[in-house]
Symmetry: C2
Subunit: 337 residues, 2 copies
DNA sequence: TTGTACGCGTTATCAA
DNA sequence: TTGATAACGCGTACAA
């Protein structure tokens, strides 16, 4: 068993109160002499206070939870780093939880946050999970919460997002500017708002340009590579699209595979626009034209908002929208009939 | 503030001991009637016991720590999933910590594990970090520890590994069987044992085949894509190698980029073998020949060993070596002079 | 079957 | 400047 404050007190021949004062740097009311002596003994015996016991009193744990839906998506791992860096700067540690897109796992972690008395929670969950049981769990959390990437009107929390409609519009509008009219779209799950919004941007861009919408050009997937590949194969064999807007880069990766299998050259036969700008982009040839999200900064911003809220320095609900940009690379070309 | 056991006791008009018995499923000594009534009230008020207070008594937190060096490397995220799945099956939750290859961050997390009284820790750290301060922190942990992927003779813990020497030998021997003799190698950092061992396999394979070793064919990197790319470019411009053994897939990804830039076709002009078999492999064309590690299973196995140790069912130190295999794909071809 | 009371390791309050 | 002690929320030995 580890040493306790009691042991240290005994060894130093002072009261536990004195030891407590020393290790908590209480400035006043302690002689330099005893302070040094206690400090010495603490170091010697390598005593570290038990955070659990401490937090029973102080009611804070200097810990924040970060719940993500899919640790295998590089988007989220980059997000994690932004959050961690800010948290550490504030001397907080991050309890990282991978919900793995499963409802029960996510709720489990949410409860854990409460039971472990995290000081606050950063939430990035798919909308599929946003059912009654989940919402209930969130409400019972009774601590500051900041949403990331995926907002939910039903939850009255602060959040950090991008304007997905605008981003979708921008992507598709670019394809239109290259004279494409037969533009397919491979979306994420129907229930996910991000997917819905980006799709909305796609529709608006077509509408503005006076290009009729063909519902068969729109296919759904689960935002992962494999299903993106399947969806692309289906779309490309059934319809003569000359361009595809993939609602995230993983899907775009799948499109590349499908195109290769079907003997379609990118960008000569098919233009592709992605979304996120993941690092693995570099593996593609040609490299992917995509909407760049400032992922790391999104994480940073969300963590800052949460920590301010925890420290009681902000109470109002704020919704921050980060800027995105279209990065043009080799996967898009002017349509030649 | 959340409800406490006291509140529930008051509402149900019983003692806290009774409530405690109910929520802990103490079979004996409680009437079905009161049990139901208490259960009802617990559900109604959505009471969850405070884990922190509980663990002060029980001395266990049903939490294990998992420390990884780089959350951006898909190898580790896959590992995480294996660990999580086993832990959850055992009703344990995983405290995931990303050391980000930094000493102070890693040590910080290690201390956190102790202070938060995790029941055990799974450790995957780079050897660079394995200095005095780190070792000290590990020793003071005073809880079960299982090492993953990277062993350290200096630490007397159980661990789950693969035979990196053998794996390296296998990879290079395959290249030799394809008549290659000018085989380059892009390693990880010199101080990392995994890298050292795989390199050792490379050397042994050459030696066995009677092929002289050219030290200039061996270049080091940091196991990441960018440096892999840089190293490959350097190697390929200076020397006429016909094949490259990349000590992990991220490096191999970099080799592909370098080859493309230099106008070398894979596998016609250059054969490439990687290590890990990451999913992003699918983005490459041709697909990568590589050593497959059972990453998910490594995570599972390590978690099982740790949990058994925690539950006191195993005390002996065990070193488990998992099987690897060479997966032949399109990036390797017979050398034609 | 149920309740009382103590202890877990710490911080905070008040008195000395 | 220092110390004794209550309190945090819970589990459990022991008593009723």
């Amino acid at each position: 068993m580890s040493l306790t404050i009691k042991d240290i007190a005994k060894i130093a021949d002072v009261s536990i109160a004195t030891v407590s004062r020393v290790i908590n740097n209480k400035a006043e009311g302690i002689s330099e002499e005893t302070r040094q002596r206690v400090l010495q003994i603490v170091k010697e015996h390598n005593y570290t206070p038990n955070r659990i016991a401490r937090s029973m009193i102080t009611k804070n744990t200097r810990t924040i939870g970060l719940i993500i839906p899919d640790i295998r998506n590089p988007f989220f791992t980059e997000l994690v780093r932004g959050v961690e860096d800010v948290a550490n700067r504030f001397q907080y540690t991050v309890f990282l939880c991978n919900g793995d897109k499963e409802v029960h796992k996510t709720i489990e972690y949410l409860n854990l946050m409460k039971e472990n008395s995290a000081d606050g929670v950063l939430l990035t969950v798919s909308d599929q999970i946003m059912g009654k049981p989940f919402q209930q769990a969130v409400e019972q959390l009774d601590m500051p919460v900041v949403l990331i990437d995926r907002g939910h009107q039903s939850l009255k929390f602060s959040g950090v997002y991008i304007d997905n409609v605008k981003a979708g519009y921008k992507a598709v509008n670019y394809l239109i500017s290259l004279s494409h009219t037969e533009i397919g779209c491979i979306a994420g799950p129907k229930e996910i708002k991000n997917s819905h919004d980006r799709l909305q941007g796609y529709l608006e861009a077509l509408k503005t340009a006076g290009i009729p919408v063909n519902p068969e050009y729109i296919v759904h997937s689960n935002f992962e590579m494999e299903e993106g590949y399947q969806a692309a194969k289906q779309l490309l064999t059934r319809h003569q699209v000359t361009a595809i807007f993939a609602l995230n880069d993983l899907i775009a990766f799948g499109v590349y595979q499908a195109a290769e299998e079907l003997g379609l050259r990118i960008p000569d036969d098919l233009s592709v626009v992605g979304f996120d700008d993941l690092e693995y982009n570099r593996l593609l040839s040609p490299k992917l034209t995509t909407i760049r999200q400032p992922i790391y900064e999104i994480g940073e911003t969300a963590a800052e908002i949460l920590l301010k809220q925890i420290q009681g320095r902000r109470r109002a609900r704020v919704e921050t929208y980060m800027e995105i940009e279209l990065v043009v690379r080799g996967s898009t070309a002017r349509f030649q009939k």
